[in-house]
């Protein structure tokens, strides 16, 4: 008889949603500013994971140092790819499909470099995280770090977007790039900032994925489809939409795993949840279901 531990499923869904949120925010914001889906975003996730592994596991550095380095290195890689590759292409009038293909090429290159350095086998962080059993719920200290990171990131991003001039400029550029430029916003600087922060957050999601599971060169690629699903469901460029979509899909994934297990089907099929979400949303509400609801509610 298959028994469901609902509190644990709920908690695990929050963890999954938190990873999705960190992975997707940068993708969603950079997509809205630069107007193309950046497939190399997967490698910012992967690199962040490996940098965390290098510093925390291989060099025995403090968790916070590894955590910060994951953010900075992935953020810098993202910034560099925007400055050296995507921005010059855009300045030459490259259409979206060229930029997309360039991002796929860049992603493959970075992935192979990572594979050359660390190899293709899974690498695991051997640290033992503190655990607590609270009733039916088992909570790892690592998960609390993750939740704390997501809560603080959400608060900082909310304050940034709602209360600071740079945040308002980000929203303005996301709304209408030509108009933003026409009112004196330095669109290039705003884009650089967003690419750096978005890449950094992707690196953090990679760091947590490696700490929870293991490091493999396809780590980011596996998170990219959920990240795209979050972006599409939440509405491109909508931080609050992405936040809600990440947790919605986090729950959907965990529930789908239960369903697949009960049916005796392989749990890898859970990826179908994301593909179906992308297809249905693009067919029904291309601007994103959650963004549409928020517009309807005027929030």
């Amino acid at each position: 008889m298959y028994t469901l531990n609902l509190p644990q499923i709920f908690f695990n869904s929050i963890i999954t949603g938190s990873i999705f949120m960190l992975a997707a925010i940068g993708l969603s914001l950079s997509y809205s500013l630069s107007r193309f889906p950046n497939f190399a975003h997967a490698e910012y996730i992967t690199l962040g994971g490996y940098i965390g592994f290098l510093l925390f596991e291989q060099l025995n550095m403090h968790l916070y140092i590894a955590f910060t380095a994951s953010f900075l290195v992935s953020g810098l890689l993202s910034l560099l790819s925007y400055t050296v590759l995507f921005k010059p292409l855009q300045d030459r009038g490259a259409p979206m499909v060229y930029l997309m293909v360039a991002s796929i090429g860049l992603g493959i290159t970075i992935r192979h470099i990572i594979q050359q350095i660390w190899g293709g086998s899974p690498l695991t962080i051997r640290a033992v995280w503190p655990r607590w059993d609270i009733g039916p719920l088992t909570i790892s200290g690592l998960y609390l770090y993750l939740i704390a990171t997501v809560i603080s990131t959400s608060i900082v991003l909310h304050l940034l977007l709602a209360s600071t001039i740079i945040g308002k400029c980000i929203r303005a550029v996301s709304d209408n790039i030509e108009l933003a430029s026409s009112v004196g916003v330095n669109v290039d600087n705003v884009s650089r900032f967003v690419w750096f922060v978005g890449g950094g957050l992707a690196g953090l999601s990679g760091f947590f994925m490696v700490a929870i599971a293991n490091a493999i060169p396809l780590l980011g690629w596996r998170l990219l489809i959920p990240a795209f699903a979050v972006t599409v469901l939440g509405g491109v460029g909508s931080f609050y939409g992405a936040l809600i979509a990440a947790y919605t899909l986090g729950f959907a994934e965990n529930i789908s795993v239960i369903g697949l297990t009960a049916l005796g089907l392989p749990t890898d099929l859970k990826m179908l949840v994301f593909f179906i979400t992308i297809v249905v949303v693009l067919l029904a509400k291309p601007e994103g279901i959650i963004a549409s609801i928020r517009r309807g509610l005027r929030v």
Binding site: I165, R171, L179, A180, S181, S182, G184, V185
Partner: protein, 243 residues
């Protein structure tokens, strides 16, 4: 002259739309660009603010050559621009629209400018926290004007500021435009389809046809110019009386 173009040719990609056009405007003056659809009025303005490709010629701001500078730099140097459509950020509040336009000013200066601008446009003063996308067409146009003023422009380029507005609202916008030019000594250049209103509300006007300037006169002279009426009649199906 505060702003002038010298033999400016502007277009998109390889297509030259405006050819060798020289226009000028001085502080406190309202100048209108009139001409039939597709005559290049909007393209000329976009060329001045760096949003369209300049093939040849120069843009001079206070005799300083600013041709080809990025748009945001031109705006910060004192050239304000209000596009024809999509000229507000609908997902930002009215206040945020104004703040973004003065993003490079220090906080106190920006607050002061917003207050000044609100005093000029009381219609939107009580809607500061309202999403700009919820404003009416007229209010949006007023917000776009207000937003341009926050950036402390010396020159203001307005692309079809009364497009799709009611005649009453169009009159109101023109009154604002004249007041802004007169009170703040701002040079204003308007690209306008509504020929009669543009001529009545400007000091001087340029007639563009097929990307070339075919006539420059005082607006008063243009209003009573039979040749201008003929030029228009060739390109537009309008009654001579409406000019």
């Amino acid at each position: 002259m505060l702003l002038r173009t010298v033999d400016l040719s502007v277009g998109y990609g390889d297509l030259k739309i405006v050819q060798n056009v020289s226009v000028e405007v001085k502080g406190g003056e309202v100048v209108s660009l009139i001409g039939p659809n597709g005559s290049g009025k909007s393209t000329l303005i976009k060329g001045i603010v760096g949003l369209a490709k300049v093939f040849s010629g120069r843009v001079l701001l206070d005799e300083l050559d600013v041709t080809g500078l990025p748009t945001y730099k031109l705006i910060r140097m004192g050239i304000g621009y209000v596009p024809q459509r999509l000229n507000i950020f609908p997902n930002l509040s009215v206040k945020e629209n104004l703040e973004v336009s003065g993003s490079w000013l220090d906080k106190n200066r920006m607050r002061r400018k917003i207050q000044e601008v609100m005093d000029i446009f009381p219609e939107i003063k009580h809607k500061m926290d309202c999403k700009a996308g919820l404003l009416s067409g007229g209010e949006r146009q007023i917000l776009a004007l207000a937003r341009a003023l926050v950036a402390e422009p010396r020159v203001l380029l307005l692309d079809e500021p009364t497009a799709s507005l009611s005649p009453m609202m169009a009159d109101k916008i023109f009154r604002y435009i004249r007041d802004i030019a007169f009170t703040n000594d701002i040079a204003i250049m308007i690209a306008e389809q509504n020929v009669a209103k543009a001529l009545k509300n400007s000091d001087r006007s340029y007639v563009l046809v097929s990307g070339r300037c075919v006539s420059v006169e005082s607006s008063k002279a243009h209003l009573s110019d039979d040749q201008l009426k003929r030029i228009y009649l060739e390109f537009m199906s309008i009654k001579p009386d409406s000019l």
